[in-house]
């Protein structure tokens, strides 16, 4: 039963979010697969002619996943912010995993893959970028934790400036400046190698 399954997940996700807010880290690990499953399901459904455009915006997916997974009767903006942050973290993990596999394959013994197999996931160039950003982001977090969160939400989570502002609980103006600065700084770090 699709409906029953969804209702179960809804209760569980809401409960896990509450646990996460209390600082239980294992709640995150249990939430991740539930959220990912839902994101993929929504992505598939959106392709069934519901929209004229078909580039799926991660932000739309996250919105819908939130509406479907979190019990709206016992939720407030904090859950929403939490959920967005969670989705961005999830996407970061997935992207980094993808990119690691991609880059590992590249350095190993040359393997001929058909186009059909290797077309999924990020391309080689972007894989390197993803890994580099993932690494340098740790340094940014030491200098400016909020900017690092902005990058996680915007770059890895694909969220808009407004959603990022909502997720962190700051003004959009602040996010715009944080993003502009973090972006430039990260780029300078990436192109300069390991310049301190």
């Amino acid at each position: 039963m699709v409906l029953a399954g969804m209702a179960d997940n809804r209760g569980e996700v809401t409960r896990l979010l509450a646990e996460m807010a209390l600082g239980r880290s294992d709640a995150l690990d249990r939430l991740m697969p539930l959220v990912y499953q839902e994101l993929r399901r929504i992505a598939r459904n959106q392709m069934r002619g519901e929209r004229s455009g078909h580039t799926l915006q991660p932000t739309d997916l996250v919105h819908e996943a939130f509406l479907r997974l979190v019990d709206q009767n016992c939720t407030d903006w904090r859950n929403r912010a939490q959920f967005f942050g969670l989705a961005a973290q999830l996407m970061r993990r997935l992207l980094v995993d993808h990119a690691r596999r991609r880059c590992a394959g590249k350095r190993g013994i040359p393997v001929t893959l058909t186009e059909g197999i290797c077309q999924r996931g990020p391309g080689a160039d972007q894989s390197e970028e993803i890994l580099a950003v993932h690494q340098v982001l740790g340094r940014l977090a030491e200098l400016d934790p909020r900017q690092a969160r902005v990058v996680e939400l915007r770059y890895f989570g694909g969220l808009s400036v407004e959603e990022t502002a909502e997720a962190i609980g700051v003004a959009t103006r602040t996010v715009k400046l944080d993003w502009a600065m973090a972006k430039s700084w990260l780029k300078s770090q990436l192109s300069a190698g390991d310049r301190p």
Binding site: R44, G49, S52, H54, Q119, R120, D125, D144, S188
Partner: protein, 209 residues
């Protein structure tokens, strides 16, 4: 860099962004107060900010979305059926609802749009093919972008791809030659225009008898 230094950098960078470009040098001169190191950092950030927007790789996480289903609209073209998948994208038989005719629409899948190299090659392919006018080369009708998805609209050629036309025991010599001449002719035309195909395979040649 210390946190104090960082927040000073953020402050000057933010103010510089809000200053019209023509007045920036003067503004930076006074804001940095002879602190050349700060000036260098701010300049570096400002230069980095000029670059095109940074594409989030997150769209690529849902490659299942790359497929279009019958009934989906891409611009003014309604998808009818998937014809095949090539190195550069997925091709669908579609209907141009304005002109009410059948066309082939080639879409660069969403999971590759974020790859600038793919995107560039896709545009290049459309341009190259549209520059050619030959009975054995598919005519390009349109190239467009909608909601970040790029697509090439081409003449629809009914019939089967060459790899499906070849029976198990092989083609008769006369037929083989007929197709070979058609292909060679089209390639010669492309070469004369300075275009190299690079990926010639039987699945890409549509034979009509």
């Amino acid at each position: 860099m210390t946190p104090e230094r960082w927040s000073r950098l953020r402050e000057v960078f933010g103010a510089a962004l809000e200053t019209p470009e023509s007045e920036r040098p003067r503004f930076l001169e006074s804001a940095c107060e002879g602190d050349t190191e700060l000036r260098v950092e701010v300049d570096r950030l400002l230069a980095g900010n000029q670059e095109p927007t940074w594409q989030s790789p997150a769209t690529m996480l849902f490659p299942v979305a790359a497929e279009l289903a019958p009934g989906d609209m891409v611009g003014r073209y309604r998808i009818e059926a998937k014809l095949g998948e090539g190195g550069m994208g997925v091709v669908y038989r579609s209907r141009d609802i304005h002109l009410d005719r059948v066309v082939a629409v080639k879409v660069l899948p969403a999971d590759r749009v974020a790859d600038p190299d793919r995107k560039r090659r896709f545009i290049q392919e459309a341009k190259a093919a549209s520059a050619l006018n030959h009975p054995n080369i598919i005519t390009i009708h349109d190239f467009a972008e909608e909601h970040g998805t790029q697509f090439i609209v081409m003449e629809y050629v009914p019939g089967k791809a060459l790899d499906q036309l070849i029976p198990l025991k092989g083609l008769r010599t006369a037929e083989t030659l007929k197709y070979a001449v058609q292909i060679a002719d089209a390639l010669a035309k492309a070469h004369a225009a300075g275009i190299v195909h690079r990926r010639l395979e039987a699945g890409q040649h549509h034979g009509h008898r």
